[in-house]
Amino acid sequence: MSTAVRGRTPLLPRWLTADHPLPWLAPMFAMILAFGIYPLAYSIWLSLHQRNRFTRVDEFSGLANWVQAFGDQRFIDSLLVTVQYTLTCLVFQVVLGIAIALLLDCERRGYGLLRALMTLPLVVPPAVTGLMFLLMQDGQFGVLSYYLKLVGLVSPEAPILANPRTALWGVMAADIWQWTPFMVLILLAGLRALPKEPYEAAAIDGAGFLQCLWHLTLPMLSRVIAVAVLIRTIDLFRIYDYVYAMTAGGPGTATETLSFYAGRVFGVANFNYAATLSLIMLVVLNVVCFTFLKLARVRF
């Protein structure tokens, strides 16, 4: 530090100057406080009250909403649908993402274009993606249904999205299509940043492609994969748009995810219970992500 600075009488305490992290972080935290924390507190308040149907006043009801949620079979079902949705999509997106990233990580001509084209699904609004797959999977005129019927994978009597056993897969197809490219993008970035030396050493030792993949690439990429999985888990668990556009939770409640159920409760103006359901989601997601970060030893 120069003597000029040391000699100056400080006008401000150090934590108010640019040499302390606080002023740098303060604007963001002000934003989070106003539009993140305050709404959260409001949600908690809502979840501890019930609206009196006649006076239309929120009355304190303790944990009644929470107790109601844990006895609510529809909530439990939607939780199971959400978990199934999240895990299935994660597996597909991670496996496909790794495979495609390895495939496209090549310096030859044309691969730059392929990588650019691969990112295009990312820019489609999810609500539009939902409609896109709805159009393709329609039982009567869908192009995807047509070919699947042709090879006998789908029966004409049971369209993909109208059959409780296949509807969730139909919705997941949209998610997997849209977000596998996100995995590819992150993993390509990771692959680019890997050191070259271990591969040269392995080549001298005569290691094959699969050996390199298993013993070098995947271990070195594990941190990138972990962060990508974390971000995807957060978004998958809150899935709403595809369900809204494609099935509205049906047939029956076969594709009703937590977000969608909470949205439906919100729609009938039961704000207190909708807030409770969202808070349960938040708690579950926080616990899952925090545990995952600890287990995967991710540091920022």
């Binding site: 963001m28 295009l120 974390l230």
Partner: protein
């Protein structure tokens, strides 16, 4: 991985097939937007040999009434007003640009702070910021619905901008921090030895070096706001962002697939251009700082 000529060709073929398979839904979507209404539903599906039409674009973007276009025949009614979507495009642009700018300013300052100062609880601070994204959209929307009502922000551009900024902050901070981390701290130190203040270092030394990262982050923020659906749906009635507008074309009397695909295709154009422009920086910066040991 060099391999023989045959192996290289095989790889090229597989790579193109995979990418084309991923592009097929987009291709089918854009194709439907220029098909005459009946051709959309043809079985077996038609790829060529239909009379291409710009009618769907004329109705959604051009604001023409379908009845005039069809010379007064046809079952569908509903004039220009309900399908005309240029105001939606304007609303979406205002909200996306506004929230991108705000998120970028807040996240740049914060991630510079997180990148340049030693903090004991840094992991927890980052997790706390990331946790803002874990709020289900409903959980954000319910309280904001009431708060905005009290503040007079309901159904306003500013309200949506604030909500989208909050959603965008976590990813923006994570991304920008990794870009800042790539700039060696020694640069800051030598500039400060030369008498620069911390803020001058930020503005004149570090910021110019992460321009590409800023662009990539801005594009991602823009796309997330441009495509966001649920919060826009719940917080607005008069303002209609594009994703919300499109879903209104699914009506109780039928789904206007021609108009949906036209507006849906048009809505992709700005994001396509932006993401292709920052491709290079995205592929370099999306490691999210996670390669550090």
């Amino acid at each position: 991985m060099q391999g023989s000529r045959g192996a290289r060709i095989a790889r090229d073929v597989v790579a193109w097939l995979v990418v084309l398979a991923f592009l097929f839904p987009l291709f089918w979507w854009v194709l439907a937007s220029i098909k005459p209404y009946t051709a959309i539903f043809a079985q077996p599906p038609v790829y060529v040999g239909f009379d291409a039409t710009a009618e769907n674009y004329a109705v959604t973007i051009g604001g023409q009434s379908r009845i005039t276009l069809e010379g007064g025949v046809g079952g569908q009614t509903g004039g220009a007003s309900s399908y005309y979507s240029l105001p939606s495009i304007r609303d979406s642009l205002i909200v996306a640009l506004g929230s991108t700018a705000l998120a970028l300013v807040l996240a740049t300052l914060a991630s510079f702070g997180l990148s340049r100062f030693a903090m004991r609880a840094k992991d927890h601070v980052v997790f706390f910021v990331l946790a803002q994204r874990m709020l289900p959209p409903i959980a954000v929307a319910i309280p904001l619905f009431f708060i905005f009502r009290d503040l007079g922000l309901r159904d306003s551009h500013l309200g949506l901008i604030l909500a989208h900024t909050l959603i965008n902050l976590p990813l923006a901070v994570l991304l920008l921090k990794s870009f800042f981390d790539d700039v060696p701290v020694e640069l800051d130190e030598s500039a400060m030895l030369d008498g620069a203040t911390r803020f001058q270092v930020f503005r004149m030394v570090v910021l110019p070096l992460v321009k590409g990262g800023l662009a990539a982050t801005a594009v991602l923020c823009f796309i997330f706001s441009w495509t966001e659906f649920l919060i826009s749906l719940l917080l607005t009635t008069g303002i209609r962002t594009i994703p919300v507008k499109i879903t209104t074309f699914v009506t109780s009397t039928g789904t206007e697939w021609g108009l949906i695909t036209a507006l849906g295709s048009a809505a992709l154009v700005p994001s396509f251009i932006f993401i292709l422009l920052v491709q290079k920086h995205l592929v370099r910066g999306l490691t999210l700082g996670s390669l550090k040991s």
